[in-house]
């Protein structure tokens, strides 16, 4: 049976690269990059994943078909997450009708900081508070 035999050295190098990635991601977590922290962590995770898929899982030497199967799995994950998030991201675009009080629905941008949220509630008109 034909199967591409990868030299041991490659596997060990990939392992070392993964270790470096792990160290990097832990290190980056201790630096305050603001929102970039998440981006950096995910970027490193994606790189590590690609190393595992391409080398440990032999996709680099696999057929086109295998690559398509792998890619479509992740593509569908992106569809699931992005379209679901698009709902939550746009919920706050329409303001709550006057006199209804603050919405209790989960809306992503407005609840970024819980302190800001409580401030809004505190300043709400007395009529809303009376309800």
């Amino acid at each position: 049976m034909s199967g591409h035999v990868v030299p041991v050295r490659t596997y060990v190098l990939i392992f070392l690269a993964l270790m470096v990635g792990t160290a990097l991601t832990v290190g980056a977590a201790f630096v305050d990059l603001g929102r970039l922290n998440t981006v950096v962590a995910l970027a490193i995770a994606v790189c590590k994943m690609l190393l595992v898929i391409l080398f440990f899982m032999h996709v680099r030497h696999s057929s086109q078909l295998m690559k398509i199967v792998v890619a479509s799995g992740f593509l569908w994950l992106v569809i699931l997450i992005s379209i679901t998030v698009s709902d939550y991201l746009t919920r706050s675009w329409i303001p709550d009708p006057e006199g209804w009080g603050p919405s209790t629905a989960i809306t992503l941008p407005s609840q970024q900081s819980s302190t800001a949220k409580t401030a809004v509630v505190a300043e709400a008109p007395a009529s809303a508070a009376a309800q």
């Binding site: 379209i83 709902d87 919920r91 629905a105």
Partner: protein, 538 residues
Amino acid sequence: MHYPRIESHVHYLNVNYGIRSWLFTTDHKRIGLLYLASVTFMFLVGGLAAVLMRLQLVEPQGTLLEPDTFNKMFSTHGIVMIFFFLIPAIPAVLGNFLVPMMIGARDLAFPRINLLSWYVYLVGAILTLIAILNGGVDTGWTFYTPYSSTYSNSNVLLVGIAAFITGFSSILTGLNFIVTIHKMRAPGLTWSRLPLFIWAHYATSLIMLLGTPVLAITLVLLALERILHAGIFDPKLGGDPLLFQHLFWFYSHPAVYIMILPAMGVVSELITCFSRKRIFGYKVVAFSSLAIAVLGFLVWGHHMFVTGQSVYAGLIFSALSFLVAIPSAIKVFNWTATLYKGSISHDAPMLYALGFIGLFTMGGLTGLFLASLATDVHLNGTYFIVAHFHYIMVGGTIMAYLGGIHFWWPKISGRLYPDKWARFAALVIFIGFNLTFFPQFLLGYLGMPRRYAFYPQEFQVLNVLSSAGASVLGVGYAIPLIYLIWSLRYGPPAGPNPWGAKGLEWQTPSPPPTENFEETPIVTEEAYAYASEDHELV
């Protein structure tokens, strides 16, 4: 007339006997028959629930069922019909039987996994039946939170687990089909020569693989929430009940295409055979299956237009939903174009196929009403929706399923059934179906909400019509059950190709031998190469 047993050759039915030879079989054809028996049984269970509902609704203040029992009846009907009948019906019965034969393979790629999928289905079905006998479930088939996670006192957990388990049977079937279609086609059987039944099952398998696991994890979350009350779907604890709907419909909308795509595959086979023509626009029909499978994943939010979903997301979902109409319409157009100037014969399978085209078109067009944001506000939660999806699922999937069963029955059993009865039954089903569900469009448009045991006096005439239609439909379904079983013993031998159809499955004896073909067939022509010299349009 009493025909003797078919002893002429060794085939998959007579190669060995006994219950063990069936329960431990890895022959895709026998597993298909195991599925046939089990989905038929589940169809009867789900049908019984429907009968009780229609009886209750004959009168505005019906006294047959308590409102609580009524809730359990429509939940049972939905859960059993969707998870245990419609989703496995065509893929697991006809697909199992035909996919390897149509591509000239000896079996599916993973025969033992195929058998496992039937056992998994069986476990799910038994758990559901236990739950039904144990008091039932009243959440509707959608298990919406927070009712299902916090408030319902019925067997949500057990049914949820059952649906979770059954999902794996679907995943395993899809997995098997994908690998088989990719790796095991006979020499010469290129992608552009594949029967459209295969294309449809390929597209269906994609949905099974990529959609079903999301339902599985959603049901796990629901079960954990119901046990722990930790707040994943509980607004009091910061959770969002709508998230459940997002995840649920991410699978359950594409699941509609799990039901309808294989039906479309069946219809393509029937239309070409009984009009003796090549399919009009083979490539377009094939790719429209894939297009439906992919687009079907982008539209789930149209089930949530009247919830707290963002209006902007609603807009996008609405627009994408309209897109699905395009590949569906392409198929209808191409079937019709195939009929044009064909030498059409009205055998029973063809009657079902023609019925499918008409009813599916109606179901599809009314779907556009519901994909429009504004009209959906009026129609959502009414009988209009009920009528719409029954036109797709009953008028579409079940018509095609029965058409397929009638078409391939001679191959499956080696026997012919009485054609006059079959045509009569097809007619009764068509009439009964329309009588049942057309009044529901009107009811819904007039504002009768679904899922209620009672209704105002003014809706009675239409409800009585619908219930009357349901009884006609019930008779229509009973007739094939009788004559098909009768034909197993008394039907005349069919011969390898009673319809004069193209396709590899007709080139082997009926019933086929265990390994399907004496020797691996070699394909030299495209699909549906019917005697074209007489009827070629070009």
